[in-house]
């Protein structure tokens, strides 16, 4: 049997029962479409998270208090111990460890911020001048916190664009005006450039004030909540991390590294843990969608079994005029694969449209990879073979004499 004949037979068989073929294909379209859309959401989330982590700054090492590092996850040792880092620790790191470009300790907390008539609750970060470099902070208008500000514990504030919008109205220029944080007046000296991070913690909704000011007026002590360290290059990261760890253990008089009252993370760690979360998310979404694909496949098998029964006499006739088992099974298998393949093509397209719609109207980034498209086609063809095999074999095994007598 020639391939062109096979396709002609398949075409006319599928067209013979248009509505049934359509509904069966629809099952596969929904299955493949949702797999493609779900994977694209997962991949998109992964991309978003990775790029927002990368935008934190390059060669960044972050030291946070009060966490003990465990295998693969972190356990908080409790609130009381969560204030174990001080400005002196930061100074010591800066003085005693080489291969460091900058050390930027910070103190942060959420406070109520008010202006005339408006108020908001936002993240207040006490920072030093180098912080802007270390964490890739860019200034849109005015200036960032300066060393001078930190020395004098000046009451000055740099607003994130979202915070500015909340307090003073969109795109206004509030430089020179005052905001009240925890009841104290701060003079606005700068506005940050928008980073555009959405969803997982906006980097645009925050206020920077000098670290010393934050410690004195907001915290009332010398604690810092994070020490950001920028290594000179990628290669020295591990070494710097090691040295910081032993320095701080020494300073905190802890002999067992397992009991460290601080944790050190670098970007690679954060990215890999975030990636593992988004990968899990992708797999979860994909497998939920996969269930609908299996249901679609069962639909194929159902249709093919019905078709074989209906066309028993045709099978008998074909065998009588010289069709071999292989010819019959190939014919029915091709019908099944054709159904799933058409479903796969439309499904990939529908999934693509769906993910475009999600990113346009749902505000979630999605990305369609070649991999997921190939996966879609491949899976649909395999579904056709798997679920078409049994009906095709059943047709091929029919006895021609009995099949011709079938009523």
């Amino acid at each position: 049997m020639k391939t062109s004949d096979l396709f002609e037979e398949t075409y006319s068989a599928l067209m013979a029962n248009k509505s049934r073929s359509f509904l069966t294909i629809l099952g596969i379209v929904i299955g493949i479409g949702s797999v493609i859309a779900m994977i694209s959401i997962g991949q998109g989330a992964k991309g978003t998270i990775e790029s927002s982590i990368e935008s934190l700054g390059s060669n960044l090492i972050m030291i946070t208090p009060g966490f003990q590092r465990g295998a693969g996850f972190q356990v908080s040792s409790g609130r009381g111990s969560a204030q174990t880092l001080t400005s002196e620790d930061a100074d010591a790191i800066g003085q005693e460890i080489g291969s460091i470009k900058a050390v930027a300790p910070e103190f942060d907390g959420r406070y109520q911020v008010t202006t005339k008539g408006t108020n908001t609750n936002t993240q207040i970060i006490g920072a030093t001048a180098v912080y802007a470099d270390v964490r890739n902070i860019e200034i849109d208008q005015g200036a960032f916190v300066s060393d001078q500000n930190v020395q004098n514990s000046s009451k000055v504030a740099v607003l994130g664009p979202t915070t500015r919008d909340d307090l003073f109205g969109e795109s206004s220029n509030p430089i020179g005006q005052t905001v009240r944080i925890k009841g104290m007046e701060f003079k606005v000296i700068g506005i940050l450039k928008a980073k555009g991070g959405t969803g997982f913690g906006s980097q645009d909704d925050r206020i920077f004030i000098p670290l010393s000011t934050a410690q004195r007026f907001l915290a009332g002590n010398e604690r810092v909540s994070t020490i950001n360290v920028q290594a000179i290059d990628q290669n020295s990261m591990a070494m710097v991390q090691e040295q910081i760890s032993s320095l701080l253990l020494n300073r905190h008089k802890i002999s067992d590294p397992q009991l460290a009252d601080f944790s050190i993370m670098n970007q690679a760690d954060i990215i890999s843990s975030a990636s593992s979360i988004t990968n899990t998310l992708s797999i979860l979404l994909g497998s939920i969608a996969g269930i609908s694909l299996v249901v679609g496949g069962i639909g194929i098998m159902n249709m093919m079994l019905t078709t074989v029964t209906e066309r028993t006499r045709e099978v008998g006739l074909r065998k009588a005029i010289g069709a071999k088992k292989k010819d019959i099974s190939t014919q029915f298998l091709t019908e099944a694969v054709m159904l799933t393949f058409i479903g796969g093509v439309i499904g990939v397209f529908v999934g693509w449209l769906f993910s475009l719609a999600i990113s346009k109207f749902g505000g979630i980034n999605t990305s369609i990879s070649l991999f997921s498209v190939i996966l879609g086609f491949g899976v649909s063809a395999i579904i056709g073979i798997v679920f078409g095999y049994y009906p095709a074999r059943r047709a091929a095994k029919l006895n021609p004499i009995e099949a011709l007598r079938y009523e």
């Binding site: 020639k2 006739l317 009588a320 005029i321 088992k325 292989k326 004499i401 011709l404």
Partner: protein
């Protein structure tokens, strides 16, 4: 040339053994027009299945054009059917949603023949069986019974078989159209020299053949040259 030697076919159910054919032996030469006649249960359908290479005998030998068909595998039997045998059934067995032409070309799909040739062959045989050319592109379920059976005969002829096996070809037709169909067989036999075997339970139908083999209870009870033939 067909040669049956001591053909026996036994059907076994769990408790009973039925002999559908018992030691049947006969020879049919090329170009003969033979009717196999008998009441239902006489074994004529079983014999047709064996002659048509749809089934193999339990014992005995069946030589078709010098080949021992009784020993062939399922796929080899399919080849014999494809190359040497044309079937005509009582209930036509046309593909309902396909055109007349496609129905006739169907057997050629399983052999290695180009599309153009197929169409030519199909048209030739359709003209030979006397079907109006205007009908070639009609769907087969739009035809009358007599037309359907002539399309089925054309389908049986299209692979140029050495043997045409017709199983009660007039069973679903009225007398008049039945007569036309039988005349078609006669013409094919007399003018195109096809070997035709007609399976029937009706004497009037069998009378069209040159030779009548009568079966009863799985045995040949009579094998006569039909003297009353109109030609």
């Amino acid at each position: 040339m067909i040669e049956c030697k001591n053909i026996t076919k036994t059907y076994k159910s769990e408790t009973v053994e039925t002999n559908a054919l018992k030691n049947v032996s006969f020879t049919i030469k090329d170009g003969e027009f033979v009717a196999i006649m008998g009441p239902s249960g006489s074994g004529k359908s079983t014999l047709m299945h064996i002659l048509g290479a749809l089934d193999t005998p339990t014992s005995g030998e069946y030589f078709f054009d010098g080949k021992n068909v009784s020993e062939l595998s399922e796929d080899e039997l399919a080849d014999v059917r494809r190359d040497k045998i044309g079937f005509v059934f009582q209930s036509f067995n046309l593909l309902p949603r396909a055109t007349v032409l496609r129905n006739v070309m169907l057997p050629l799909v399983y052999s290695d023949i180009s599309k153009n040739e197929r169409e030519n062959f199909a048209k030739t045989v359709l003209i030979n069986v006397g079907l109006n050319e205007a009908r070639f592109y009609h769907l087969s379920n739009q035809l009358s019974g007599g037309e359907m059976q002539r399309v089925a005969i054309a389908r049986a002829l299209v692979n140029n078989p050495s043997l045409i096996l017709a199983d009660e070809p007039t069973g679903n037709l009225d007398t008049k159209t039945g007569e036309i169909v039988l005349n078609t067989f006669e013409i094919l036999n007399k003018e195109k020299h096809h070997t035709v075997i007609l399976i029937t339970h009706e004497r009037e139908v069998a009378e069209h053949a040159d030779r009548i083999i009568r079966l009863r209870d799985g045995e040949i009870v009579e094998d006569i040259i039909n003297g009353k033939n109109k030609h």
